[in-house]
């Protein structure tokens, strides 16, 4: 394992320290926690937005803390949901009297820990509500399974629910728009090479030199199949078409596109994927409102990418465009 770290068991602490010292005028660390909050939290009268999850997805989640987006992010251990008490600290920190909204990615651990935090908060009379993001079309939704995973589409939920909260909306209104994003966002990922959890020290899975994994999750959990590596065009087609099969994007006005790197994919390659994604959408008569190419929701140093499409209406467009001062998402 070759990593630029100090102690594999201290990576989250060191990282949080590195984040808060990078943006001292924007962020503050809630003492003795792995919670980073807006410097001016709580904002009185505004719904507070909290998200978080395991670490290793940087810039998610603390990179999205800032005016117009999240009020706080909670960093768990690498790939491990934070504990209820940490989430509860975040909730208390951002509660400005209008309630707190949680953005949870759909993993058993995240759901359990955030729900328990919500119970703790309610016991202290803080209004809490939440949305569970499950944008990954790679894994089928059936009554059997845990449901779909939350991946890069979560960033759009942060942005749009964040803008809504910033506009002074109520907790119910923020929840409504959060659910609207979840209903209209779909993603799918793929990988060429695995990642290594620092404290584990060995790669989380193996792929042959000519193999790729289609439908990968952001912790290395696969979804669809392993097969021979294909061209960027074919990869873009496979991801995009699976998304388009799942939701009818032709009925919306426009879409937002995100081509997200999973950690060690050169940005050059993300743009090469985007090239074909844009062509496909054009061929299908789906018009693109805005495109995001870069690392938004990573899986440590996994090599691969995901494609996300969000169907927009006027409200979502306005909120997507609204100003954000979050370090990793400025608009």
């Amino acid at each position: 394992m070759k990593k630029i770290i100090n102690d594999p068991n201290q990576v989250v602490q060191d990282m949080v320290q590195g984040m808060v010292t990078a943006y001292p005028s924007a962020l503050k660390q809630v003492p003795e926690t792995m919670v980073l909050a807006r410097k001016d939290a709580p904002v009185q009268g505004k719904v507070g937005l909290v998200s978080g999850g395991g670490s290793g997805h940087e810039p998610a989640h603390a990179g999205y803390v800032g005016k117009g987006m999240l009020d706080a992010a909670v960093a768990g251990e690498v790939f491990t949901s934070p504990t209820p008490d940490q989430v509860f600290e975040a909730i208390k920190t951002v509660d400005g009297g209008a309630g707190v909204f949680l953005v949870i990615k759909n993993y058993t651990g995240d759901v359990l820990n955030f729900e328990m935090a919500a119970e703790l908060a309610e016991a202290e009379d803080i209004d809490v509500d939440y949305v569970v993001v499950n944008d990954d079309v790679a894994v089928e939704d059936s009554s059997f399974t845990t449901g779909r995973r939350g991946i890069a589409g979560t960033v759009f939920v942060h942005k749009i629910a964040g803008a809504k909260a910033e506009s002074g909306a109520s907790l119910a209104e923020v929840k409504k728009v959060g659910e609207k994003v979840v209903a209209n966002v779909r993603s799918m990922g793929m990988a060429l090479k695995p990642c290594t959890v620092p404290a584990a020290g060995t790669p989380s899975f193996e792929l042959q030199d000519d193999e790729m994994e289609i439908g990968i999750g952001i912790h290395g959990e696969p979804g669809l199949e392993r097969k021979e590596i294909a061209s960027a065009d074919k990869i873009a087609e496979e991801l995009t078409e699976k998304i388009l099969e799942d939701l009818d994007y032709t009925t919306g006005e426009d879409v937002a596109v995100m081509v997200n790197g999973l950690g060690s994919t050169p940005e050059m390659e993300l743009y090469i994927v985007n090239k074909r994604v844009q062509e496909i959408l054009k061929e299908k008569g789906i018009s693109v409102y805005k495109t995001f190419v870069g690392e938004y929701m990573t899986a440590l140093e996994m090599t691969g990418c995901s494609v996300t499409l969000l169907k927009l209406d006027d409200e979502l467009k306005t909120l997507l465009d609204a100003p954000s001062e979050a370090p990793a998402f400025r608009s």
């Binding site: 768990g76 690498v78 934070p82 058993t108 651990g109 820990n113 894994v139 584990a200 696969p222």
Partner: protein, 206 residues
Amino acid sequence: MKLDVNTVIDWMKRTNEKMQENKSYLTTLDQPIGDGDHGINMARGFQEVENKISQGTYETPADVLKDVAMTLMSKVGGASGPLFGSAFLKLSTAVKGTDTVDGELFAKALDQAAAGVKQRGKADIGEKTMIDVWVPVAEALKEEPNFSAELLEDTAKQAMENTKEMLATKGRAAYFKERSQGHIDPGSASSFYLFEALSDVIKERA
């Protein structure tokens, strides 16, 4: 079998030893069908448990078990933190007010703990989770309240091994569908170590 406060403390210390020893093995189990952190989670959690309980003074088994529950909930995270936390909280509640827990009460407590995990995780037996160890162990003990250390260990071990061929439908392993078969469920393995540790402690005291 009789569990007094010191036996419970020893149980937890022995469990911690096992989690530290098997940290990489548990992580290795979590790599092919999960996200490769289970050993790290368990080792961190039970180390914190050991730190916590070696500082406190306890009157009853329930007191210890409660601190274990709270420590696991606040130090582990992931799926296993709240689930093991819930299990220990139920154990604690079930034996509240008793100085020495006998086999019958322990079996009852285990049953409630297993039910707690099911409820928290919205899962049931046969879904390739730790439930597939907790439930069979609870059932075996219910049938034989004077159970031996061997029975406890063998039941837990067999239950853990039975998860190998199961198809996961809950937790991260569910995403692997058919590919989840042929691998032991990591949470079932750590649950086995927990019961093996108890068996060890009972044997020593016998």
